[in-house]
Each structure stands twice: as C-alpha cells, then as structure tokens.
C-alpha cells in the first residue's frame, strides 16, 4: 500500500490533518479559559449563583476540550522531528528555543494549575482557586504567544544567519526573532479569533436552551455575554484582519495575490474578485464576478493604486491559488455573518427582545460552529499561502521532509485519520451531550457530581481515623 505515492505529499497531508484537528481545541480552550476566569471573578464579586453554575458547567466542557488539546498537541511537537527532520535540523536553532519557552512558561503553568482548577475547589481557599483559574487562562495565552511567534517566524523570518550546514542560526537580537514582522498581527488576529469562536459556541448553546425556555436564567446570562462579545469584538476582528492583510501584502505578496485571485497585474486599480473559479494552469479566474477598483481600495486603501499580479512571480514560487482563494472567502464570509449576528443582537437588546426573538436564537444556534470553521479556513489560508516553502522564500517544503518511505507515512496518516475521527468524534459527542442537557439549577462542583467523578473520588486531606472501605 502507498508504494506509488509521494512521501512528501503524504507527510504534508498528515501535518495539515493533525494540526487542523488540534487547532480546534485550543481555539476553544483559550477563549473558554478566559470566560471561566470572568465567570469565577464575577461570582466572587457578586455572589450570584448563576455565575458559579455557569462556571461549573463550562468547566466540565473545558476539561474535555483541554484534554483533547493536550494529547493532539503532543503529536505536533514530535511530528516536526518524525516527518520534517530536515526542517528541524535547519530551523531548530531558531524556532526550537521559542517552542522550549512555550513549554517552560505555558504548558507547565496550564497543567500545574489545571488539577487545582478542576478538582481543588474544596481543598484550597476561594481566592487560591480563582488564582489557579487565572494561571490556566494566562497559560493558554502565553502558549498562543510563543507558538504563533514560531509560526510567524516561518512566514516572515528575521534575526537569523545561515551557517555552512545550511542551518538557520540566531544572529543579532532574539527580539527580532520573536517579534518578527508578521507576529504582532497574527497574534492579535488569532487570539481574538479564539475569543470570538468561544463566544459563538457559548451563544449557540444558550440559544438552544432559550428556544426551549426563554426564562432560563442561566441561558439568558450566557446569551447576553456571548452577544456582547459578538457585537463588540467582531468589528475589532475585521479591523485586525485588514491590518494583518496589509502586513502580508508587504512581506508575502504572493499569498495576498492568491487570496484575491490576481493572476494579472493591474497598473490602474485592481478589481475585487468576489467569486470565480481560479484556473492556475491558464493563469486566470474563470467566471469571475468582480467589482472594479475595490481591490485596490482594500489592499492599498486607494482606488487607483497599482497592484502587481502573480504574473510578476516565477511559477515555482507561487502558492496553490484555488485553495487559498476559497478558504479566504469562507473566512471572510463567516466574518460578515458574525458581524450580522452581533448587530442583530444589539438591535434586539435595544428593542428589549434579546431573550424573546426565536429567529435571532435560531441564527445564533446555527452560527455555533462558525468560529471553528473560520479559524480553520484562516489557518489554511495563511499556511497554504506560505507554500511552496516551510521557511518563507528560504527553505522549500520539498527540501524539509524526513527521509521516510511512502508506506511508513501513508500508514501513519491512515491511522491518524481513523484514530482522530474515532476518539475526537466521541469527545465532541460528549460535549454536545453536556450542552444539550444544559446548566442545572444548582450545578454541583466537578469533584462531587455523581456521574462525573463518582462518589467523592477526589480525596479530602488525609484522615487516618476514617474507616476503611467495607
């Protein structure tokens, strides 16, 4: 099996598959950790039971999501070596330390305090417990910081020299490496995406319960919080995306040209191609629907600015256009829908109908997965847009792979697909089941709730006088 396949293509599919699957979980847990921090903070401040109910409810979902994120993340940290060994050897001295810092400053922090956050409510003070929640939330953010710095360095490398063995070496300041040109934009855009994704998922589960009982106090609080996020953060995200795009145009022009479908140069203002079928062989977009000059307005903020096309880029340096063209449109289209939801919720709030407008709730319900889809689509856009390189313009993907035979990679790819679909399918099913059941009126703490952790499992302090089990 797999004898006739190209091992590099198989390795690329495997990395794309495992990283896309993984990305779903942190994009939820980054947002959820902060949401939990806000809920627990509000509870400590106001003492309102709704907040602790919601905290305990979402903590169960956080636990599942986080576990799936951890186990799918370890795969990635080893896959650099197993499947991209030449890349690891060459880029390791520069991006390896960034990932080491991620482990040292983020992974241990999250993992160390997660146990107390999940099971420690009855063993530490309320303040200590809130501190643990804050540390986990901080850990998720720091983790995003370092891994996006490493990823951005692959997109816009800086602060390096190349030695005799072809290895990238740090040269000059590590600040240049860490804060490479695309990093600040990518960090802002990705972290906001995680918050928005979480808000849409929370809003969707609230809408599901509001459609059944519009007086459900827990669902109301969730829905209101989620819709504030959708209304206030979506416009910020669109602005951040625009800035990120301008940065990409400066440092990785061919990625933006592929996103826009500009095969030809436009010296007097480029149109905006809304839809069409990119045809990379013939170097044109078939059946294009365009708006004149709008492309230049978006890319250069000037109607008549010239835009160079992919015709200025040698063929062997072009990324695959069709996939980027479409993934970008999926992301932007969903962004527009998110903005619609946010504005609609503001209108509903203004009219006093936020909890009493079934059509709005239905819309919020179907928008539940939209954040995840948009995040993956955005990721596909930026990663495929970096092709045909792993380190942009410096190290080709085909020169980065491990010396592995196709049957080895093909088999592992097949097993990854089967295992991920099976294991994470169950995980998602358990999460949906919890959401469908909804928040209870008096949500018990995780370590006491019978079906969750069976009878008093997580121990109290050692009490020697307690009788042994019968």
């Amino acid at each position: 099996m797999f004898e006739g396949f190209d091992p590099v293509i198989l390795a690329r599919i495997q990395f794309a598959f495992t990283v896309s699957f993984h990305f779903i979980f942190p994009s939820f847990s980054i947002g959820l950790a902060s949401y939990l921090m806000v809920l627990e903070g509000l509870w400590l401040r106001t003492g309102r039971e709704t907040f602790i109910n919601l905290y305990r409810f979402w903590l169960k979902i956080f636990a599942i999501t986080f576990a799936m994120g951890v186990v799918s993340g370890i795969v990635l940290s080893y896959q650099f070596g197993t499947n991209w060994s030449v890349f690891s050897d060459k880029a390791g001295p520069v991006i390896g330390p960034l990932m080491a810092y991620e482990v040292l400053t983020a992974f241990f922090l999250e993992a160390g305090f997660l146990g107390v956050m999940l099971f420690g409510a009855s063993r530490v003070s309320k303040g200590m417990h809130f501190g643990a929640t804050c540390m986990v939330a901080l850990g998720t953010f720091i983790s995003a910081f370092w891994i996006l710095s490493a990823n951005s360095w692959m997109q816009t490398p800086a602060g390096y020299a190349i030695n005799a063995q072809g290895q990238f070496m740090p040269a000059g300041s590590w600040i240049d490496v860490i804060f490479n040109p695309s990093f600040p934009y990518r960090l802002v855009h990705t972290v906001i995406a995680a918050y928005l994704t979480t808000a849409l998922a929370v809003g969707s589960s609230a809408a599901w319960h509001l459609l059944r009982d519009k007086d459900d106090p827990n669902a109301r609080t969730m829905f209101s919080m989620a819709m504030w996020m959708a209304a206030l953060v979506t416009p910020v995200q669109i602005l951040a995306g625009d800035q990120h795009g301008l940065n990409t145009l400066e440092y990785q022009p061919q990625k933006v040209l592929a996103m826009e479908g500009h095969f030809d140069s436009h010296p007097h203002g480029a149109p905006l191609i809304l839809v069409g079928l990119p045809n990379q062989k013939e170097k044109r977009v078939d059946y294009a629907v365009e708006i004149p000059k709008l492309g230049s307005l978006i890319l250069k903020h000037d109607l008549n600015a010239p835009v160079a096309g992919l015709d200025t880029i040698p063929d062997d340096r072009e990324p695959p256009v069709a996939i980027i063209f479409w993934s970008f449109r999926v992301m932007v289209g969903l962004g527009v829908l998110m903005l619609t939801l946010g504005l609609w919720s503001l209108w509903a709030r203004f009219r006093g109908k936020l909890y009493d407008w079934p059509l709005l709730h239905r819309f919020a319900l179907v928008m539940g997965p939209s954040g995840f889809v948009a995040v993956i689509a955005g990721w596909v856009t930026t990663e495929c847009g970096r092709q045909p390189y792993t380190v942009y313009n410096l190290l080709r993907t085909t020169d980065s792979a491990s010396p592995l035979a196709a049957p080895a990679v093909g088999t592992s790819l097949l097993v990854f697909v089967l295992v991920y679909c099976f294991v994470f399918g169950f995980g998602v099913w358990y999460i949906l089941k919890l959401i469908a059941k909804g928040v209870e009126r008096h949500e018990p703490p995780l370590e006491e709730s019978a079906p969750i952790r069976t009878a008093g499992i997580v121990p109290g302090p050692y009490q020697p006088e307690v009788e042994k089990a019968p």
Partner: protein, 334 residues
C-alpha cells in the same frame, strides 16, 4: 555563532533531567494504566483519581524532553525521530487514548468499560514503545551525512523487545508503589501483591538488560569492565543490590511510602547506568552532544529561561501535589 561545549554539556544534563522527570512521573501514571485490569469498580475510580489532578503536568515533561531536544540538539532530534518513526507514532496515538480516557470514562457509564480498556492499552503501548525506542537507540542506528539512513523497522530486535517489556514492568512497579502510598483498603492490598510481582520482574529485567547491553558494543563493555573504570562505576550495581534488599524488607513490613521511594531509586540508578553507557553521545555511538548541539546563542538564550522557569515550575508542581496529598478514598460514602 559557534557551538559552545560547556553550554552543550549543561543542556545534555538538563534534557536528561527532563527525560528522567518524565520517566518517573508519567511512569507511575502509565503503570497504573497497565495495572488497571487488576482492579475493578471503585478501586479503579480510586486508582485513576489518585493521578487525575497531576497526569497532565507529568506528561508535559515529555514535551520538554522532545521540544528541548529539537531546540538544543536539532541534529539529534532530526536523526532519532525518523529512525524510530513507527515507535514514536505508536506512542503518540497510545498517549491519545490514555489521556482522553481520564475524562471520557466519566461521560457515559455505558462506554466506561471501553475507555478503561483504552486507558490500559494506551498506557501499555506507550510504555512498550518508549522501551523499544530506548533499546533501538542503544543498539545503534544508521546515520549518513546528518540524516538517518536505515529502513523504517530497523529498530526491531530481540534486544529492543526486551527493553520494551522491561520498561512496561518497571512502570507497573512504579504504579503499584504509588497506589500503596496513595490508597488504602482493598486497593492497597492489591497494590502490595502487584508491587511484589512487578518488583521481581523489574529486577530481573535490570539484570538481563544490563548484561545484554554489555554484549552490544565494546564501548559499553569498556565503560563497565575495564580497569580502572570499574572502580568508578561499581557503586551503581552495588547500590542496586542494596535497594533490592531494602525494597523486599519494605514490602514485608507493609511500609507505605518506602516502596515508592525505593522504586524511584532503582529507576535513578538504571538511568545513571544508561548515562554511563551513552555519554558523551546523544545518538549512541554515532553523534556526540557537541556535534549535535545548537549554536551557543540558542543554548544561552534557552538557559536563561530554563534557569528561571524550572525552579518556579518545580515549586508550583510541588504545591499542586501537596494540595492533593493524602489517601484517595470515598470519604463520607462508606
């Protein structure tokens, strides 16, 4: 920027520390998974909940070991990972099943027995792959021009299977000793019997692997059985023998903490023995730590972070263990 031999040596010890921390901390987690079929019902709940708050932190040492290797010794990482490809993939997939089982087994009582099986099979497979990988490295891998040049199942041999099973036995011993410490009642009674059984297996494994390793290469043999090297390394087998005696006595008098600490001692001495065989190589007998090291600029930058962060990590990790100290029991439910 050029390699810096001192920094490279420091990083070799730091990565060895991370790997050892992983081996003992996830060792008892995986061991509990391996022993899971020996327990039932509430015993399983107790066994699993004694590690539920800490397993994730324990596993993070594996990420530090792997990530640190990539950062500090990129050439070694680039050679070893493809050489052990099927083993690493099997370990990663096994750790997925093991990790999610902690959460999933509570989600649906009808599915529990399946996730319990996943927990055991995952733990066993992860331990076995790690052990086989160790054997494969010791017996040597083919390297040509900065890359692995062998096939994708060169790792399979009688020796690597022996080391694989040895690690399974050793982890099971750690798991049993952990349960002696952290449980009571019938769970603890079970754990005493398992500790005796897997203690015997582990000791047999240490002896077998030690002698088998000597036959692999003259280099290994010279480290142990030539004069005057023998004087320097003799304390290792002598201390192993002493710990074995203390371990047997501790089980006899039903000590609760001593068996775990003595099992850790066995692991530490075995790990030291491994270090004596391997140093200064990082890909045994092929690539030294100095050949594989990243430039001084990378190692120095990371050393600042490691120097500041590792003490902090050890502090809050210790605190988390302290919060969950004491026996795991269903108090109030008897």
């Amino acid at each position: 920027m050029s390699p810096d031999p001192t920094l490279a040596t420091i990083w070799a010890f730091l990565i060895a520390f991370a790997v050892f921390a992983y081996i003992v901390m996830d060792g008892f987690d995986l061991g509990i998974g391996i022993l899971f079929p020996a327990f039932e019902g509430e015993e399983r709940d107790n066994a699993m909940n004694s590690i539920a708050p800490v397993w994730d932190g324990n596993e993070t040492w594996l990420v530090l070991g792997g990530g640190g290797l990539m950062a500090a010794f990129p050439l070694a990482y680039a050679i070893i990972m493809p050489a052990l490809y099927p083993l690493i993939i099997a370990m990663l997939l096994a750790l997925i099943f093991r990790g999610v089982a902690f959460e999933f087994r509570w989600r649906d009582p009808g599915h529990r027995k399946w996730w319990d099986r996943a927990f055991t099979i995952g733990s066993f497979t992860a331990a076995l792959s790690q052990g086989i990988a160790l054997g494969a490295l010791l017996q040597g891998i083919a390297v040509t021009d900065r890359a692995y040049s062998g096939g994708w199942y060169d790792w399979a041999s009688w020796f690597s299977i022996l080391t694989g099973l040895s690690v399974v036995a050793g982890y099971a011993l750690l798991g049993a000793c952990w349960l002696i410490w952290r449980t009571d009642g019938t769970t603890q009674g079970h754990a005493y019997r398992l500790a005796a059984r897997f203690g015997a297996l582990t000791i047999a494994a240490i002896v077998l692997v030690s002698f088998a390793t000597l036959t692999l290469s003259g280099n290994y043999f010279a480290r142990w059985l030539t004069w005057p090297a023998i004087l320097w390394v003799a304390p290792v087998p002598v201390l192993v023998a002493a710990i074995v005696v203390a371990f047997v006595l501790a089980l006899r008098r039903k000590a609760e903490i001593a068996p775990f600490l003595l099992a850790l001692g066995l692991f530490f001495l075995s790990f030291t023995g491994l270090g004596i065989n391997i140093f200064p190589y990082i890909v045994p007998l092929r690539v030294t730590i100095w050949e594989a090291a990243a430039p001084g600029g990378s190692l120095g930058f990371m050393l600042v972070g490691a120097g500041i962060m590792i003490p902090i990590i050890l502090t809050y990790t210790g605190w988390a263990y302290w919060v969950f100290r004491g026996k795991v029991a269903g108090e109030g439910y008897h």
